[in-house]
Amino acid sequence: MTPNASPYIPNTDADREQMLAAIGVRSFDDLVQEVPAQHRFPELNLRPALSEFDLTAEISALAARNATPGDYACFLGSGAYRHFIPSVVKSVVARGEFLTSYTPYQPEVAQGTLQVGFEFQSMICEITGMEVANAGMYDGPTAFAEGALMACRITRRHTIAVLDTVDPRNIEILDAYTRHQGCEITVVGRDDDVPADAACLMVQSPNQFGVVEDMAALAGRAHDAGALAVACVNPTSLGMFRTPGECDVDIVAAEGQALGVPLSFGGPYVGLFACKDVYKRQMPGRIIGRTTDTKGRVAYTLTLQTREQHIRRERATSNICTSTALISLLMTTYLATLGRSGFQKVAELCYHKAHYAAAEIDRLPGYTVRNDGPFFHEFLVECPRPPAEINRALLDRKIIGGRDLGDRTANGMLICVTETNTRAEIDQLVTALAEIAETAALAKTRGP
């Protein structure tokens, strides 16, 4: 007997023959007669199947063409952050019972996923200082945009005021989410008035240049204009810095990636979303609540579902139907493992290392740290040459430099330092930056 072609498809020719007979057809073709004959069974220009051995070799070869942390020191942040992920996190997330289950529509057989989601919501409330949180969204920027839409629903206003220090990428996504909702986006400065018809003031802290914003003052200004305060925060920073809850912010979004999620070239990540209790019925996304079963035992279930697309259809609070549950699990396991003191400690390590790096770089001739306020773990450096050139020279020294913000600020580079950057790496960066500036100066005096 010929073995099956695919390890993923168990039924044999003999099985299929029996099944087709039971169905009452002679061949598979009889089952697809409604597919227009002229288009049926098209040729596919794909490559032949690979064995697992060959597949592993092929994808490993692709992976080997990417510069990875083992070989390079990396100082990139700007929305995605390299942090240490404990082994426990990776082993928990590999459990097939978590990995291969679906959205918990049948709560009796999804209590694992549901209880994790409840822990996740609780932890988000704790770290942000907010009263309620949902079970997770796609990523930070889309959660932030959903926050604006929610503010419009609550206030029945359609002007979205965005502080000018918000990352332009976040504004671009906000535009994509609000373009067809009759909303208008207005960018305002810290000293500008919040427009009287604004639904919300959108604030990012730390902002696009790494500066920690005065969220309390900004929230106060929003409230004075009858608008809500919507903040996008870095969750790691909340191990040290004032929470949006303490600043009277109404709606909070955050990119959860920093909390135990691999960088993975930009995804999958998880958007964190929290708000004041009074607004919970206007939240987008999945929400998990505690209840009891018929025997009075504790149980968890998806709740407040009448907000959602599968019930409310075109009147839903959002079209979203994922909670990115597996990534929420990563985050929940990460925070459980770090615990109360570890969460603070990571923030402190980031803070001290980043400030050490900033002080060392600021001392270098030609380089100036340009922040106009306190920062957490990333900072803006004005470089003596275009950052793209400096980064090319750094790459030759096995260093991936900071993000090039030359399009926003003259020769600006955003450098991020986390607990994963050793002092040796930081010192190498500083030395390399000094050398690169000197080489440039030398080249200039010698002429072309």
Binding site: Y8, I9, N11, Q18, M19, L31, V32, H39, L46, R47, P48, A49, I59, A63, N66, A67, G79, R82, T100, Q106, E108, V109, Q111, G112, V116, E119, S122, I127, G129, A133, D139, P141, R169, I173, A176, R179, V212, F241, L263, S264, F265, G266, G267, K280, T291, T292, D293, T294, Q309, H310, R312, E314, S318, T322, G342, Q344, H352, I400, T422, I426
Partner: protein
């Protein structure tokens, strides 16, 4: 401590197990001189009440939780429209290679050529499989793919100065995300009725299309698991009226190597990689919902795409792009898994996937239709829908049948959807199940049908053998309890 009861599961939350001083991870020391702290006014005044638990407790807690889940790895999971197929383990390993999981999204293109090549190859393969060559892998889930596709349609008409097209036509059998996404895209939703056989009512559609039609969103096969017999007529009607046709690719598994959406006249589609292309559902995400379009619409795709120039790959923005719909380049980890799946299945395997999915669904349909109100005569594609109204007349609902399946270790089918079928039970076995498993499912369903006559309370009170019996879901919504709170006694003691 409460006296333990045999069989009782310890449901305490982490914070209810927390003991001050316990740690789950040893933190590294500070290797730079301590730096001055910011003003105290900037610092948080109350620490986050995260749990203090040791590492063994963390592992046991989450492992115990996992065991309260049904999953594809542990149970037959015939959840209609969700394509709960086997998730190949090698794909997990590949997605976690340091060269994949460890790379930063802002890394310069020259340092991520392998990742960019993978994205480019997957763009090409999905374009080939669907016959829609413009592909953006960015959207993070099916619903975001839908929204992107609808924004593309709107941008396309705006570009032509055809601004009056503000209606999305959507069948009454559609997934809820279709109308929700259309509303986000600022479109007015007009429902297209189904005919008695569950197909699109072609005459009704003809009456509904006009110069206001932006897009007709059609799920193919439909949510009833049926191939639309009048598909070419339907795409012709919509195109005649100047509108675009959108394919909800949730059920693409049934079409692999059977027919290409582009050949049928579809202009835009999304594909759920977590369904057809075997990436794990993860308890409700992360997914990936690439958006696929015809060449004519490709200039409007979201940012970024990967383009190839000789042997070099780079991230680019299409010329008239609708812009970014999320933070970076999509669910890259999910894309790695989907690409690995396509490479493992290969050209010869694609059609086998669809064939086996379709045979498995029809096998169940034929076996159970008489007893559970299915259609014994109409051939289905990858899923079949039952309508147990005879059982309902005896006082047993689709919900009761679903919950009783749990006692037999089988995950319930999708219930009460599509909305147009009374007491709907939608069963999608997928191609990765054995005939044995299907035979056992059929036997269980017949046994349950006997129980309805013999002892209906077995169904009304089901599940009996799960971590929980039925939940007070109304109570959960009435009095939302959405986060851990320190219990009132200890709060009072504070």
């Amino acid at each position: 401590m409460n006296v333990p009861v045999p069989g009782e599961i310890d449901r305490r939350l982490l914070n209810e197990r927390s003991v001050p001083g316990r740690i789950g991870l040893q933190m590294p020391g500070l290797d730079v001189p301590e730096q001055p702290l910011p003003d105290a006014g900037l610092l948080r005044s109350q620490e986050a009440r995260l749990p203090e638990v040791s590492q063994p407790e963390v592992v046991r807690y989450f492992t115990a939780l996992s065991r309260m889940n049904f999953s594809v790895d542990t149970n037959f999971y015939p959840l209609g429209s969700c394509t709960m197929k086997y998730n190949p383990r090698v794909n997990e390993e590949l997605a976690f290679l340091p060269g994949m999981a460890g790379i930063h999204p802002h890394q310069p293109d020259e340092t991520v050529q392998g990742a960019l090549q993978l994205i480019w190859e997957l763009q090409s393969d999905l374009g080939e499989i669907t016959g829609l060559p413009g592909v953006c892998l960015g959207p993070l889930a099916g619903a975001q793919g839908e929204y992107s596709g609808l924004m593309i349609a709107r941008a396309y008409f705006a570009d032509r100065g055809d601004t009056g097209r503000t209606v999305a036509l959507i069948p009454d059998s559609a997934h809820g995300t279709n109308p929700a996404s259309a509303a986000m895209a600022g479109l007015e939703v007009v429902t297209v009725p189904s005919d008695a056989q569950g197909n699109v009512d072609v005459e009704a559609l003809r009456g509904l299309v006009d110069q206001r039609t932006c897009v007709f969103m059609l799920t193919l096969p439909s949510t009833l698991g049926l191939f639309e017999p009048n598909i070419l007529e339907i795409t012709g009607i919509v195109h005649q009226a100047g509108g675009l046709i959108y394919a909800d690719g949730a059920n693409l598994n049934a079409l692999l190597g059977i027919v290409k959406l582009g050949d049928l006249g579809f202009d835009i589609a999304h594909s759920n990689l977590h369904k057809t292309f075997s990436t794990p559902h993860g308890g409700g995400g992360p997914g990936a919902g690439p958006v696929l379009v015809s060449d004519e619409l490709a200039p409007f795709l979201p940012t970024p795409l990967v383009t190839r120039d000789g042997d070099t790959y780079r991230l680019t923005a299409p010329e008239r792009s609708i812009g970014r719909v999320n933070g970076f380049h999509g669910s890259f980890g999910v894309l790695v898994r989907a690409y690995a799946y396509i490479r493992a299945v290969g050209v010869e395997g694609m059609r086998q996937v669809a064939e086996n999915a379709i045979i498995n669904a029809n096998y169940i349909r034929v076996a159970l239709s008489d007893e559970f109100g299915g259609d014994a005569d109409r051939i289905c594609m990858h899923e079949c829908v039952f309508s147990p109204q005879a059982q309902k007349a005896k006082g047993v609902s689709a919900l009761d049948i679903s919950k009783r399946l749990i006692d037999y270790g089988i995950h319930p089918p999708t219930m009460y959807f599509p909305l147009i079928v009374p007491e709907a039970l939608m069963v999608e076995p997928t191609e990765t199940e054995t005939k044995d498993t299907l035979d056992r499912f059929i036997a269980v369903m017949r046994q349950i049908n006997r129980e309805i006559d013999e002892d209906p309370d077995l169904l009304h009170d089901a599940p009996h053998d799960a971590p929980n019996t039925r939940l007070d879901e109304a109570g959960a919504a009435r009095n939302p309890y959405l986060r851990w709170q320190p219990d009132e006694d200890s709060q009072a003691a504070d």
